[in-house]
Structure formats: structure tokens, C-alpha cells
Subunit: 377 residues, 4 copies
Amino acid sequence: MSAPSSSVAPPAERILVGVAGCTGVVGQRFLSMLAEHPWFRLAAISASDKSAGKRYDEAAAWKLTTDLPADIAAMAVLPNTVESFLAAKCVVVFSALDTGVATQFELDLAAAGIKVFSNASSHRMDARVPILIPHANAEHIAILPAQQRAMGYEEKGGYIVTNANCSSTGLVVALRPLQDAFGIDSLFVTTLQAISGAGYPGVPSLDITDNTIPYISGEEDKMEMEPQKILGRVGKVEGEKEERFIPAGFKVSAQCNRVHVIDGHQECVSIKLKQKATLEQVQACLRDWQSEAQLLRLPSAPVHPIHLHTAANRPQPRLDRDRERGFVVTVGRVRECPLFDWKFTLCSHNTVLGAAGGSILNAELAYAKGYITQTKK
Amino acid sequence: MSAPSSSVAPPAERILVGVAGCTGVVGQRFLSMLAEHPWFRLAAISASDKSAGKRYDEAAAWKLTTDLPADIAAMAVLPNTVESFLAAKCVVVFSALDTGVATQFELDLAAAGIKVFSNASSHRMDARVPILIPHANAEHIAILPAQQRAMGYEEKGGYIVTNANCSSTGLVVALRPLQDAFGIDSLFVTTLQAISGAGYPGVPSLDITDNTIPYISGEEDKMEMEPQKILGRVGKVEGEKEERFIPAGFKVSAQCNRVHVIDGHQECVSIKLKQKATLEQVQACLRDWQSEAQLLRLPSAPVHPIHLHTAANRPQPRLDRDRERGFVVTVGRVRECPLFDWKFTLCSHNTVLGAAGGSILNAELAYAKGYITQTKK
Amino acid sequence: MSAPSSSVAPPAERILVGVAGCTGVVGQRFLSMLAEHPWFRLAAISASDKSAGKRYDEAAAWKLTTDLPADIAAMAVLPNTVESFLAAKCVVVFSALDTGVATQFELDLAAAGIKVFSNASSHRMDARVPILIPHANAEHIAILPAQQRAMGYEEKGGYIVTNANCSSTGLVVALRPLQDAFGIDSLFVTTLQAISGAGYPGVPSLDITDNTIPYISGEEDKMEMEPQKILGRVGKVEGEKEERFIPAGFKVSAQCNRVHVIDGHQECVSIKLKQKATLEQVQACLRDWQSEAQLLRLPSAPVHPIHLHTAANRPQPRLDRDRERGFVVTVGRVRECPLFDWKFTLCSHNTVLGAAGGSILNAELAYAKGYITQTKK
Amino acid sequence: MSAPSSSVAPPAERILVGVAGCTGVVGQRFLSMLAEHPWFRLAAISASDKSAGKRYDEAAAWKLTTDLPADIAAMAVLPNTVESFLAAKCVVVFSALDTGVATQFELDLAAAGIKVFSNASSHRMDARVPILIPHANAEHIAILPAQQRAMGYEEKGGYIVTNANCSSTGLVVALRPLQDAFGIDSLFVTTLQAISGAGYPGVPSLDITDNTIPYISGEEDKMEMEPQKILGRVGKVEGEKEERFIPAGFKVSAQCNRVHVIDGHQECVSIKLKQKATLEQVQACLRDWQSEAQLLRLPSAPVHPIHLHTAANRPQPRLDRDRERGFVVTVGRVRECPLFDWKFTLCSHNTVLGAAGGSILNAELAYAKGYITQTKK
């Protein structure tokens, strides 16, 4: 973590956090990033019954190219229960659980007073659960008190924050400055997604070698819905007591493909804006975008959320995914579109910004904005 | 060549043909397909000065997974001159030349009375040179007399026929039945193109391993222009004596990517039609399409030009590119589009149907329609 | 099947055969090769309970690049029981079962009178079960009467024939002519093995992309033991009534690696011979080898069992695996070794010659030698 | 560079160094590693006439996954002349030149008083040029005065130090402790080498995708000769005035393959030792090895030169190549060999330890041992 030092006062003692679903590809990223986090201290890790009870290095097949930290290797894997994290006094739990398990377990954690930052899709479309991407919609965190009231989490102080689908993440970071500056009417997006997005063991090598797969279950629906919520606003709906998210009005058509890349999703976008703009204006708007993550200098935040590349053949996943530790969206090939207004290509790291890293950035934002305190509420 | 036997009477003696640019990836495909062709006999092969004068197996690094036929291995590589082919009494020359060399050389060949079937892009956009794809626009061959008159080729009987860019080819085969049935208003297409499209040595392995490249020089322009000509009509323009091609009126926006696949281009299409249609109508229209190549049972023609796949995760290049020896376009994932009318994905073999095989099919059509006779005009 | 026509009289009616374990990668190869076999007719297919009861195309994810034949697609998958094959009057069953299932089931099939040709390793090291590779040790088939007597299979006429591990197969084909001509003292072999050898889903893409894996469970043991049996002799051991296999006396040291290749195992060999030889003698001995499979012109037999390649950079899996439909071992880079006598590299198709194709060739040999008759014994 | 701080006093001012052959894959590694080196300051870079005169970022296609440092991007590329480096007052020049260019140019540089640390093979086998690998034979640096006397470099103070072939490097690091402890009699080694070893553009993707290549020009000869010199001794030969290298007496048989891996060479070794040893002794000997690079805590030196892995399926290039910034050799699968004494597998980073990093480590050793002073001799 060589990011610039934060403008926010660090906690007097590091906040105790847990990781639920610690053995998979995203779980491993969480552990790796939390191993030396300046604000958070890893206190408990959980997994399914197959792994619970083992040492971590016996339970998990470590797949990252950096070594498994020795102290994490020796941690005991706990079962996926609320008690696992309460006993360890975890204030925050990061969830890398499969959707099936996550749905009820995350509700139980929140009800028990734990602040849940989840990579699972289970609660993303809930009316008062933010899909939070500090590069794109940091202000959505303000929904949390309404969520707590609506769900009865107030007293114990728990809540659920999700991050977006890994493909939606890269897209909305590029869309946000365009929406602010020119308004978005509609867009087409075709993705070339990395194999790590399918987890481990995930995509069989016999399926993807010398091949592409034009289908990822559920992915196109997520990409057509999530951006509307992420770039939508908080408002009241008649008959509801608490505020909820109101989708942005633009339309998205998505086609999602799996390609033979380890990490890094590439996306080809054609967009129609509400206001006319010049190429220079579009490029400047992307290049100069600063989100609250930058203003607060969160520990994991990059200097620029968007890197605008002007070389004709960029971005490329292998060359661009690790820029600023994987927390940046690289945008390139901004050019006119014969049908809509603009075409461009973007690339982002699907298991860093698009998964574990995004969740950690969300927790950093929550701490910076006062939504996490060292003792449970 | 296990295709069904043709309805056209074969030539009494096989027609003598040559291949210009015989050492590259497309040149090798030409040789491989002509080695046992029922109508054509390979009589001369040419290449650049570096290779001319050598035996073929010394001049070329054979890259196909089928063995180099022994009689071709022993052929002498001739220089890229008109005389090379005239001396060998070639009636037809297939051109796999690089654009730079092809531009003038193909004109010289045609002027000398040779029927040129070219894979080069040099003359594709010429007003009276057809971009011919028997699966899509067999009727365009009728321009040839006008071309001969306009170019002064009449007396000696030469002409130039081109095939399309490898990505345009797959696309227009799927578009033609839709245009006939419903009319095309506009479309977006994003490609995932195979490395063999860049020839040999082509794409360095360091560039494409664990990577995608969002740029192929000149490709998007070709894909936005060629389909208009291929699906356009023949007509008169004021002030011109001879008929010429008039582009179809629809609009195309293309984004082209290189992916880590050996052979087989995949394309994701979103299309707006002029008439409303049901899913069943669109699927039936694609599945049932028959072109003149089928009606004439040309030796290289597949039984169906389009294979409609209904599995959720198809087409895939590795599994679908070799269907019916690579002469088919596989279309799948036909579904509604939230913005336009329909989304679908297609896959075709870029060096068979999209290059050498397409040119040979063009020559078969030309013979079947009387544009090639055994003696030069 | 475009192999030369056999010198053996074909059966009056095609012999009914079954495939046990029909859904995996090797099972699919069996079905594909039996679909149009001149001597055998596919009458029953079985798989585990998960698949039994379904149509084949619903039970199996077809992974070959050739289309699933329509009549096989519609076949019912039967349970892995002896009754499944008896009811269908199968004389022969090809086994592509996992070792765990194969061990008892193959014994049961043989006891019920069925001739089992197995790709499983369960019975390979049994004293009277031949590891049969017609290119290498066709004479070992003569053990079958002794096996039948020892196992009580005589009356009903069943028996078990196995093929070798996919890596052993390529190796012993190259070793046999050397052993005959010069005698083998000892050898080192290092393999680069294809992912299809691990079946489907098999090797996760995250494990093998941009990587090699220096370990394949149990593989080195097999390669150090099987060649001794395959190139051993049939003989008597004191105290045993029936003849058994006596291992050849040479020593093998093997190192096995998984590499990112779809099909085709490559093996680097350093060998010490008992007699001195010249390079020309070694090359001629390999190139000129003819096995009984050639002499009998079995339907699946290649013209030459060994293709000796003299180019400096061959064999290569992608270019050489499909030579003569995958039934050939390609040997190249024969050169002196500073420590032993000779170094060479070989490549063979692991799921054709090294698995399903090898088993079918074994059954063809058995028919040609009178070990299969149209009615059960 | 997060290595532990050195025990050697750093230079008062950073020593001026140059890189010859700065645009290729190894040249880029040199620049990247020198960008923030504590002892050396990059003062001049040179390349062929095609690149000379341009800014670096215009001359080179940057292929590393870390960003090109901005100050290097702006450096002027100088021609490959001695004057380029003399004018910039370079004391040291790192050479990443092709062999053809390197042979004479490195002699010229040394004659002009420059200390040359070369990755080229041109002078590796010269009698008084050390092939230096601090992990393996740091003491060989003591040949330099003899080299200077023999070559007439004394007055101006130049000399040539080479590093080994990238495959030899990993091998000899593992061999050195075994030689010291038990003596080496002979060994077989089969390599699986990464594509980056061939430079850029290097291996065409059409050649290596779904493939392996059993041949790398000149590589087996290097691997059979270099280890003898690297692990040999310095001694006198009758009739020669100055000492020279005397090869170690063991024998090596090598087989070299290219595989589809970006970085990281894997090698499978079978070795016969002069003394018997237990598995524990062999493992301890490898694990505990410390070279002078460790004792001096050179800035680029890893904590342990050899990482002994005990997992059954390691080392793997993608997971192990970057351990300790690529300066470590990972050894695993140490086990008995049925023919020789021991089998093991090793992996090392071919463009870090095996190329640019190795050269920089050599220069660090030279500085630490007093062979580089801040002003030219």
C-alpha cells in the first residue's frame, strides 16, 4: 500500500475486521489487502464447513502471485456463523460469500450489529442497500441511517453496503463524470471479461484455451440494471416512510463475453449523451474527474480514479490492470461513433477495484465519513 | 472436400489456376484447399523476391495443422510477375498478396486477361469491383461486364473480384437474410478477432498472452463501409456510362478487438430493423437462408450458410469455426435488445470463409455462372 | 476414417459394442470414433447415476471440435451395470471409466462374458492383463487364454485388455524398435503433457494460463513401471500355473509436467542402449518400424506407426498431433547425448492413440487375431 | 526495491551508469530496475540507429506491466558508440545488446575504461571473463585484474563481466550448494522456457498458442558448457602468463523447450552426486545456502538465494517467479531418482535474475568488493 497518506485521522487502534468466505479468489484478495492495512486489523476469517476448523494454509489453495502472509497462513478458519465474528469482536465483516450463502447470513450479521461490506450480489438491488463505488457515487453512503431504521438495525448499529458487479464497476466510474457534465441518454457495452471473475476452480482450461465464450450467466442483466441504481439518486416514493434509491433514467444494452485473460475486464462502450460535446471536452471530463475518495485521500484510493490513455492500442488488461495497485479505471480510444456520440474502451481490475479492493475502499469511506466507530454503536 | 456433389457440370479438364502471395497464412490456406479441388488445378505460385526461385517447402514455414501436400512442397516459387502466370497458362489467379503489392499487380493481371480473385483490400471499394460473398450477394457478380468495359478488360477477358474483410464477411452473411426479410436500419458490432487474421509472424505472443488488444489498424473503417457495398445494389449514377455499386442505406458502428484465439472471429451485434419481427421470425429467417451457393451446390458450399445455435453459450470459436469445413457462419444468442431490436453473436472462420475459402467459393460461383471458361476469352 | 482398407475380412455384421463412461473427454472420443466404424456398431452407452436415464446430448457437454453425431445425441445413457450391456447384446465394452468405478465393474463385465477394452489404469499391472499397444507389443494379446483360465472367464469368453497411460503410450512406441535393434539399458524422460489428459472440467484455467505445473499425481510411477511390462515378455514363474508378464530389465526415470496445450503430449528422452549405433541406424530403425497393426492393415492403423521428423524444431503438439488421424507417434531431434547415447523428442495424441483410439485399435487387433467373434463365445 | 539495507557503505554520490541496447525486453528491465537504484544513477542509454536520436518513449514499445518512469520516458536515446557513454561520464555500462553488436562494442567500451556488465553471450566463454552469478560464484570476480592485464585494460580500468544464459543461471544457483556439500558427478536437465526469453517481438503467437516448441537455437550447448565454467575454478595453464578459468569436471545433458509462459523458466533436473546423501541433507543444503550477496546484503540480493518449496506441485512459474522481486531460485519436488541420485524441479525469473537483475547484482557485488570506484581508475 504505497498510496499517499490520508487526510483523515486514523483510528487510535486499528478496527477489528473479519472476512467471510475467505478461501476463494476474492477472499484471498481481501486477506492480502488487509494484511497490512493502516486502519483495519484482521481478527477473524470464516468459510464453509469443508474448511472450518483448519488452519488457513491447509484450507485454501493460495492462488495470488504474492506470498500468503505467514500470520494469515496460521489463522484458524471459523464457520460461517455470526458468533464467529462476534466472539472476535469484529466491527466490520467483508463478505466474499457465494450468493446462496450470503443472502441470509449477511442479514444476520447486520442484525447482530456488524457493518457488512459485501461483494455478493444478494442485496445489491435492495431499496436501501447502496451499491457503493467511492470513485462514482460516494454520496450514496448517506442512505445508511434510512436502511438502519427500515431494517431495525439502529440499536445495534449494523448495516449492509455492497459493491457492484465487477463489470458494472469499471463502467460506472467512466460514466459518472460524463453524466455530471453532459447527461447520459443511452449506451451499448460489450465486455471481454477475465477468467478470475468466475472464481476458482471457475473456468475449465479446456473451455477457454484458444477460445472465447459469449455468455456469462446473469451478467448482462446486472450490467443493464446496476448502473441505473449506482448513478441514480436518493428520494422518497409515495407510501414509503424512508428514502430509497431511484434509478437514473438512461438505458443500457450489454453483451458479456469471457476471454482468455487472467485479470482485468475490458469493455467497449458506445454512448449517446444528452448534450453535445467536443472530443477535448469528453477527454478532459474523464481525465480530470476527482471523487470523494481522492479528496479524502483514502488509504486505498488512487491519485486519479480514471487514467485516460491516448495511445491507439490501449487500454490492454495485462498492461493496464495493475496501475495504482489495481484501483484505477483506464479509459482509451475515445473517438466519435457513427451511430451514437462517442465510442471508447475501458479496462479495470475485476478482483481489485471490481471486488475486494472496492469493498475495502467502501469501508475506508465509511470510516472517513463517521459510519464506522471503534466500538460497535 | 467432402461437400455434396455440385449441380453444375464440372469442366472437361480442370481449370489452371495460380496463387500470388503463396507463403503467408492465407496463401497456405489457398494451396491446401486447391490441392484436391475438383474444378481447379494449381499450375503456378508466386511470392516476393525473398522466396522466388526456391522450392515451396524451402520458401514457406508451413503453419497449417494438416501436412503440406508433397506435390506442392516441390513446386517452384515464381516471382510476382504477370509473366509467371501467363507462362503457366493460368486462367485464374487467387491473390493473397499484401495490399501494397496487390494494388498495381492485380490491375496488371486483369489487364493481361487473367481473372483475379483477391483477398487483398486494394480494390474492394472500386466502383465496379464486386466484394463478392456467395452466401450474401451472389448477384453482384453481374457487374463484371461493366467492369470489363470500364477498365478495358473486355478483349482479353480479365477482371477483379474481391472478397470482404474477414470480419465483414461473417457479419454480412447474417445481415443479408435480415435485410431481405425486415430491412436494416442500423447496427452496432463489437468483434473479438483471432490472431491468424494478422498473418505470420503477426501478433507477438508477448502482446496477446493473458491479454486483449482493443485496436486493429483500419479494421473498424472497413467494417463500417464494406457491408454497405456488399448489401448495396447495382445502379446508374448520372454522368457515368457504366453501372456501379450504390451503398445500402443503413449505418454501422464497429469496435474491433484482437483476442487470444487462433482461428475464428466472434462478433456481438445489436441491430435495429425497419420492420418489427418476433424472435421466431428472426431465428427462422437466419436458419432457413439459402444462397445461390447452395442452389448451385458449389463444391465448397456448405449445406446451410448459417448455422443457428440455440445453446446459451454458443457460438464459440474453437467449437464452431470448423463446422462444414469452415464455410459456415454460426449465429447464436438471438435475443431482444433493450435499446435496438435484437442482439446476437456470430462466429466464422476468418482464414477459410473470411479469406482463402471465400475467394475459392467466388471462383466456383464465377465458373458456375459462366464467367470462367476453360480457355481465356 | 480414411485409412487404407484392411487385409482382414470384415465381420458379416458389425459387432455390437458399448462404451462405459461415455460423458467424459475420453468417452466422447470413443463415441466419435465408433460413430462410423467399419467393424463395430455402438449399441449401448453408460455413465454414472447423475447422467443415466438422460438423452446423451442432455447428459454430456460435448467438447470435441467435430459435431456430435445426431444418432448418438439421441441415445439413452444407461447406468453403469453389466445388465446395461448384456441387454443390448454387446460383445465388446470400451471402458472410459474413472479408476475408482472401473476396478470392480470391469471384473464384473469380464466375468459376464464381455470383452473389455479399458482405458482405466485399474487392471494394467495385473499379471495376465495385457497393456496392449498394437504399435509396440501386439504379441502380448496371446496372454488372453491364460487370463481366462486364471480368472475363470473361459466359459463365457470375457477378458480384459487395457491400454497404457497416455504418456507411456507414445514412449513405448518409440522404444520398441530401439529395443529390438539395439537393446535398451536405461532412459530418462521428461514430459510436457496436455490439459485434456486431466479430463473435464480438469485443469482450471487459473492454474495453467501463463504457467506450467511440475506435477501430475501418480504419473511418474506409471511411466517408470508400465514400459517395463509393455516391452516385457510372457513367461512362467515358479509356483504359478499360468504364464504371466515378466518385466523388461531396463530402468526409467520420469519427470511429468502439465503445460498449456489442449491435446498432444511431448516427451524429451535420453536413452542408453546396449549396443552402439550410428545416428543413421537409429533414425532408420525408428522410421522403418512396422507393427502388426500395419501388416494387418487394421482400420484405424496409420501407414507408419512412427513419423520421423528431421526439422530442427519438431515435433510440436499443435502441428503434429493430428497426423494420420492422431494414430502416429512423431519423433524428432534425434541427436547424440553427452551422458547417455541418444536424445530425442516425441509427440503423440493423448486422447486418440493414448486413450480411446488406442483401445479401438486394440479391439481391431483382437478381432483380426480371432479373439472376438460375432457371438459371445 | 524493498530489500534489506546493505552492510556496504553506499557511494557518496550515486555512480553514473549507462544501458546499451535499451529498447528491448531486457533493456526495459534494466531501466525499470535502475530508475530508483540506491547506488547507481542512469546517465545514458543507447540503441541501434533506428532508435537513436528519439525520445525513449518514442523509440521503445514499453512492455513491462509497471509504468515507464516519466524521467526515463523523456531521455534521449544515444547511438551505440563509446562516445555516447564517455560523454555522459558513465563509469559502468550495462549491456543488453544482441550478440552480433555486443562482440566488438563491449571490447571497445572496456578498452575505453568502462566497466561492462553484459547480458550478451559474446564474451561468456572468454578465458578471463567471468560468468558471474553472486548467488553461485561470487569469488570469480577476482579474475578481473588478470583480465585487465591480459587485455591491456589496466591503465584505463575497464573490464567485462557477463551473466549466464537465463537457463544456466537458475540451474547453477541450485547446483552450487550441492557441489560444495556432495560433489557433482553428472546431470540431466530438461527446460520449459518462457517466451520473454526470446525478446520482442520474439515468439509469434501462432507458434506458441496451444503448443510447445522443442528447440531453442544454441540453448542446449550453452547449458551444457556454461555451468562447467561458472562452477569451475581459477587456475594456471602451462604456457599462459595469467590465470584463467578451469571448467568443473561434471557432465551435463540438456534438452530445451519453449512453452507458453510469459516469464519464468522451469527446469527438471536429475543429478548424480559424488557422495551419498539423505533427502534431509539435500533439502537442508539447498535451503540453507547463503552466498556472498547475502552476507554483504547487496541492495538487490534476496534474503535467501534459494527458496525450497515442499508442496507437491511447486514451483510454478506464475506463482513463484516474482518471489523477492524475482531474485530467488525456487526449488521443489526434491525426491529420489531411480537412475541417478536425485530429481528436482526449479524455477527462476529469466528476465530478472536470469538477465537484467543478475547484471545489476553483479555490479553491486563489484562495487562492494572495490572493483568500482566513483571515478574511473
